[in-house]
Structure formats: C-alpha cells, structure tokens
Point group: C2
Amino acid sequence: METKFEFAKQIVQEAADYILAHMKEDLQVERKSSPTDLVTRLDKEVQQLLVDRIKSIYPEDLICAEEGCLRAAVGQGSVWVIDPIDGTNNFVAQQEDFAVMLAYFENGVGKFGIIYDVMKGDCYHGGGAFPPCRNNDPLPPFKKKPLQEFLVAGNSGMFESNEWGLADLGRAALGIRVYGSAAISYAKVLSGRLLTYITYLQPWDYAAASILGESLGYRLLTVSGEPADFKTRQPVMMVPIEMQEEIQSYIYERKEN
Amino acid sequence: METKFEFAKQIVQEAADYILAHMKEDLQVERKSSPTDLVTRLDKEVQQLLVDRIKSIYPEDLICAEEGCLRAAVGQGSVWVIDPIDGTNNFVAQQEDFAVMLAYFENGVGKFGIIYDVMKGDCYHGGGAFPPCRNNDPLPPFKKKPLQEFLVAGNSGMFESNEWGLADLGRAALGIRVYGSAAISYAKVLSGRLLTYITYLQPWDYAAASILGESLGYRLLTVSGEPADFKTRQPVMMVPIEMQEEIQSYIYERKEN
C-alpha cells in the first residue's frame, strides 16, 4: 500500500503541474446541467491524465470519476475515485481555491485520500494506515470547543432556504462561510478551521475527505446521520464524532410529503 | 506624499509582523456588540502600534480607527483610517483570511490605501497618485464580462434574507461567496476575482478599498448608488462603474415603512 500511496501522491502532483502549465490557455468553458455547472478542457484532460497513469500501472483497478462515464462502485475491488478539478467555477472565475482530489478504496475500505490545493501548493494526504498531513506537517485531531467558537460552511442556496436547518446551525455558530469548493472547504475542516461542511455532493466530492477525516475524529454522514452511500448525489456533512449530536440538534433531513 | 506612502507601507508591515509574532499567544477574545462580534488583545495592540507610529512622525494628523474612540471625519485635514485586524472572527477561528487596512485622506480626497493579507503575505497598495499593486505586480483594471461569469460576495445573513436583492444578484451571477472579511473580499474584487462585495460596513472597513478601487474603475457606493458617507455604518457595495447599472437592476435600497 505504501507504493500505491506514493504513486498516488506523485500523479496528483503531475495533475497539479499540468493545470499550472495550461491554465492561462483557452479553457473552453462549457455548461453541464445548468448555467453555473461549468466544465473546462482541463477538467477533462486532467482526469484523462490521472486515469491513464493509474491504468498503466494498475490495469485491473477500477475507477469512479467526475467527468464522463467511469462510475465504479467503491464497495467491491480496488477502486480509485477521481475529482480532477473540484471548484471549477472558482478555477474559471478566480484562478484559485480549486483542488485535485483522489481517493483509493479496497472492497469499500478507504485506504488513503489526497486533496491538493493547486494554487496554495498545499497537499492534504493520508488516512487509513497513513498519518493525515498537510505537506509534511501532521494535521490536528479534532479539538472540541463550544459551538459558538466554530465557523461552518456550505452552499449559499442551502443557507438561503435554511435547508436541513443549515441557517439555524450557522446562527448558533460563530458564522457561515461559502468557499465554492468541497475540496477547499474540507481542507479547512481537516485543518480545524471549520466545524463542518454541509451540502449536496457526489462521491468524488467527498471520498478523499472522508478517508482523511476518519483518522482525525470526523465522519462523513448524510444529513440524517446515516453513512453516505458513495454512489449517488446526497446531502452530506463531515462532522466531528464528538459534536455530532449537538450538530444534529440543528441539522436533520426534512421528510417531504 | 511619496514619503508618507512609503511610511504607511512600512508601518503596515510592522503591524503584520507584530501579529505573526504574537498570534500563538492567548488572544484574550472578548465580545463587543453581539456574541459573534469579536475583538482580541491583538486588535487593540496593533491599532495602538499604528496610532503611535503615525503620531510620532505626523503629530498633527487625525485618526479614525475601529477600536476605541478615535473617530476623525475624513472630510477635513489629514486623516488616517485604520482597521488593525479586519476579519477578526477568521483570525480567531481560522488563523487566516484576515488583514490590516490603512487609508489616508487629505480634505476628503483619498491619497492611498493599503490592504495587507497577513497570512498570505500579500500587500495591496496604491490609489491616488500611486499605481494600485499587489506586492510588486500592478493590479488589473476592471474587465467587463457577462454578469453570469462573475462571482459576487457578501454577508451570509444578507443573502439569506435577500436584503437589497442580494440573493437575486447571486442567482444571476455565477455564484455567491462568503469569506467573513471585508478586506479579503475587497482584495478579491481588486484582483478581478469577484464582481462586487456588498454588505453593511463602517468607514474603516471600506476606506482603503475605495481608494485602491477608484484607480481600477470601481466606485464605493451605498446600495442606493450614492457615495458612501465615510462616517456611519451603511450598506455599501464596491462596483465597477461599467456594470453599475446592471448591478443596480438587482440591488436597490428598500424603503421600509
């Protein structure tokens, strides 16, 4: 597993270098499901780069990835989960606050996760048998404080509609932040800078963070407190186990009629 | 003015160095007007450092500053406007995304502004007779694009209540961001990473940005499109002049009954 982990960190670095080398070129921005759901040439090229590198060394392994139709389920076999550029809107509009994410599972067990904040050059890596680190520094295990001393993050639309009680949680906390990228938000949770990040996500948005977080005292759950399915788009939250109960006194899944 | 500008940049650097040297100590966090309106020992000490340095060299100059009761009006005389730590909640909860701000006016005319993102080490400086720069690089003049290609920022509560049509503007744009600091948000506007930043602010929150922004094609206005008063807490927006009309088709002051 050591070799696979080193390989994974190396190809994520290659992906980041590729983005840095090409981000000033024409990005060929396209719209996917909505006018604000963007994809660029580089999302596709970076995913292809990662897929090709994995397939060249581990031809039997399976892949679940954001762009296109590689949708292996993580529950069986050796599965890589790829988000080539998380925070594509930030990438296009700001040229910062986006990240490459990679996670690796064997028969449903997370072995390691990697979140690479490309413009800061910060690599969050580890989980499973590997100590979770930012670059060469160990990440801090969760440290409990009163709710009112924590910031919480999510999607602005969810705060606006108070979906799942998100605005109520924000009011009980120190404040609300919206960064526009799951990877960037999770990196802040893993650094102790946010209590939690709550929104609708796909498996590639949360897989790496969920593996990294487990080693630090967090769990990746749906807003009703169940394990995420790692298959479909679900409302999920990464919460410290120690404060799950308190967070869930605000956050709950509303059963629609 | 050249000497005064160099002096200003030097004392802001001293302030940032002071924060970096002392931020791991006990911050003595206190609450001001509300449970989420924080002030620390360092807000006060950094302000005192800046006031002392200004008064030692320019004893006749006047000061308007966030903490305490130095509240000179910018309209008359030589006035320094100080925000020792903007984004205090980020400073306390995240140890990043906060800034020192300093602005200088003569008889109401902005001569230069400085925004120093302490943890990134990025100094935004200039305005008036000085070219606006981030560190040694010139900042880009505003470049018009369709509204839907821009991100907009503000305060989460204002988005939640759609105050001044802020959520409507967010929906017409590429998305909404909430960073928890006027300085950090303005730095992104000045870098072309946000279209606008709209929220209730005090003069020390917007003075530096307003001077820097003027040289790049922006204006600091109230949400009804009037010049800000530089005296009281007002709902203000920094907008590119070229897109003011389009922005104001969403943003307007609601007259309460």
